[in-house]
């Protein structure tokens, strides 16, 4: 079953800018899906159309088999939106905001109170439920947006850069929470600038650039395309100048950490042996987790180079 099907979706704004150019996309039910792309690529426009905040110029949107044009009621009931910017009433309390949201979706007050307690507890906001929302910290406001979006228990939750400006500790706890609700059956679509976040959370991703989907695949399959693997090594006695190794690329991160790029399929014992010969002993190692970022930069970089080449050829 598919949670979201977007067919030939187009959006041209009144100023003539085309934000989405005949996009096709599908997201499976139960997926944790990442929508990536540089600023202005069309991510928020796509989300805005699905959430009915932006009117489409053409194409179709279906959420769990319900067509947006024919049955917006069913689409909206299935959908929860966590927007990029804070858009709650800054004069209302945390509790009023989530209770009102439930009411807008037709959830009776008695049930809304139970859910409000559950989600505010889960997101660490219960103690602040009587606080006026504008007095919350940035991280709390982000969590309030998530609690509000979950009050009608949507089947599809769309989060537009939910951890922007959130410190690492809080970001990790939000990841855990999102993994938990995804495991319970809620399909999640996430846009983020933190590619480490997408790599850590998402099973499938789409990369959007200049209003077109340039990649739509499984994260693992995408990472397979990297010809090298990157590792972070904690080392002792890192010399001032790094040894030049013909098959491995080394980069100093700090006085005790080294980043090593190893060709895919090459045994790591070779790397350790060469390092040992140069007097560097490795005490621990881990995978570099933002490999997706490298791939992302390469893909967009290739595209830019392709365009420049095309220009040169035309001129």
């Amino acid at each position: 079953m598919t949670a979201l099907v977007v067919t030939d979706l187009t959006k041209t704004y009144r100023n003539g800018r085309t934000a989405l150019n005949h996009i096709d996309l599908s997201v499976d039910a139960g997926a944790f899906f990442g929508l990536l792309g540089p600023n202005g690529a069309g991510k928020s426009t796509l989300i805005g159309i699905v959430a009915t905040l932006v009117t489409k110029s053409g194409g179709q949107v279906q959420v769990f088999g319900h067509d947006l044009d024919r049955d917006p009621w069913a689409v909206k009931s299935s959908l929860g939106l966590v927007p990029q910017e804070f858009n709650f009433n800054t004069f209302d309390t945390v509790e009023q905001i989530v209770l009102n949201q439930a009411g807008f979706y037709g959830i009776p007050r008695r049930i809304a109170h139970i859910r409000a307690e559950h989600y505010l507890q889960s997101l660490g906001l219960w103690e602040r439920r009587k606080s006026i929302s504008r007095t919350l910290s940035g991280g709390m406001k982000r969590r309030l947006l998530i609690a509000r979006a979950l009050m009608h228990e949507p089947r599809l939750l769309i989060l537009d850069e939910p951890t922007a400006g959130v410190d690492i500790e809080l970001r990790r706890s939000m990841w855990d929470f999102l993994r938990h609700i995804n495991a319970q059956g809620t399909t999640i679509i996430l846009t983020t600038h933190y590619l480490e976040e997408a790599e850590s959370l998402c099973r499938d991703i789409a990369i959007i650039d200049e209003g077109r989907i340039i990649e739509h695949t499984n994260v693992k399959a995408l990472l397979q395309r990297l010809s090298t693997q990157a590792y972070l090594l904690d080392v002792e006695h890192l010399p001032e100048s790094l040894p030049q190794l013909p098959d491995f690329s080394l980069r100093r991160i700090d006085g005790a950490t080294l980043e090593a790029e190893v060709p895919r399929g090459r045994p790591l014992t070779e790397l350790f042996a060469v390092l040992a010969q140069n007097g560097i002993s490795v005490t621990s190692m881990r995978n570099k987790s933002n490999r997706l970022e490298e791939l992302f930069v390469r893909m967009l970089g290739n595209k830019e180079r392709g365009k420049e080449k095309e220009k040169e050829e035309n001129s």
Binding site: V54, F64, G65, A74, K76, N87, N89, F104, Y105, G106
Partner: protein, 272 residues
């Protein structure tokens, strides 16, 4: 969880939609009512002070020198008009400021992404506007009773005209807020359209005092009919035909209501 949702491609039963819409309507109406009651110093006290000054200055001080109007003391004559003036401005201002505030802070998006029909959004805001109009109307009536007696010729006409007028101007407030892009825009209509039309709508005088030409011009002012219909409900006399006043108010409510729903459906000023 899935049993709460309609099966793929299936529509939700009408009863489910109606029940949800009713809950949504109660939520907006409660939220809007709570808003103007919470900030009562800004919403309920100022009209009470302003209208008291009208009664003191125009009714008690100047009114005694003016003498009777339309067969009533000047204070008796202007009381219904002043009550109506308060109801019109407050029902309009309540909705225009609340709706535009929601647009400005972007929490209008909470309503737009929810499944509630546009009619529920419009009705919810109108309930808030009518509620504040009635509250202020009641306060000003109590103040009026300190200065003069209000015989109430016909309760049904008095109350129905109040509700219809407040409804009409609440819808007007929604339309103004939909088009408004900055705070200045929500002051333009009240300042340059509503206030002149209200003051020239027979609040302080009978149009029979005017030359024939200006009488005819005054009859093109819709507020004249509302003020006079209300005055008829209280005093039993009016410058205009009461049936025509009702027809006009209902026609305006249907026309403006339909236009507001059209704007909400198109997403004018709300969706990009």
């Amino acid at each position: 969880m899935s049993d709460r949702f309609a099966a793929e491609g299936q529509r939700y039963p009408r009863s489910v939609r109606l029940r949800a819409s009713w809950v949504a309507l109660k939520t907006i109406a409660f939220k809007e009512t709570n808003r103007y009651l919470r900030i009562w110093i800004q919403t309920l006290v100022p009209p009470a002070i302003t209208m008291t000054l009208y009664f003191v200055i125009f009714g008690a001080l100047i009114g005694e020198r003016i003498g009777p109007m339309g067969g009533y003391s000047y204070m008796e004559y202007i009381a219904p008009g002043i009550i109506m003036l308060a109801i019109i401005t407050n029902s309009y201002n309540n909705v225009v400021s609340s709706f535009f505030g929601a647009k400005f802070q972007r929490h209008i998006e909470e309503l737009l992404v929810s499944p509630m029909p546009n009619l529920v959004i419009l009705t919810g805001y109108v309930v808030g506007g009518v509620g504040r109009g009635l509250c202020v109307g009641a306060i000003v009536t109590v103040i009026a009773l300190m200065f003069t007696s209000l015989p109430i010729h016909n309760w049904a006409i008095t109350l129905s005209v109040v509700v219809l007028t407040a409804t009409l101007f609440s819808i007007g407030g929604v339309i103004n807020a939909i088009y408004a892009q900055k705070f200045d825009d929500i002051a333009i209509i009240p300042t340059f359209v509503l206030t002149p039309l209200t003051y020239l709508g027979g609040v302080f005088y009978s149009i029979s005092l005017l030359p024939e030409f200006w009488q005819a011009v005054s009859l093109a002012n819709p507020i004249l009919y509302m003020v006079n219909a209300f005055r008829f409900g209280i005093l039993g006399s009016a410058d205009v035909n009461i049936v025509f006043s009702y027809v006009m108010m209902i026609a305006f409510i249907i026309g403006l209501g339909g236009f507001a729903l059209y704007l909400l459906r198109r997403g004018t000023g709300l969706r990009s």
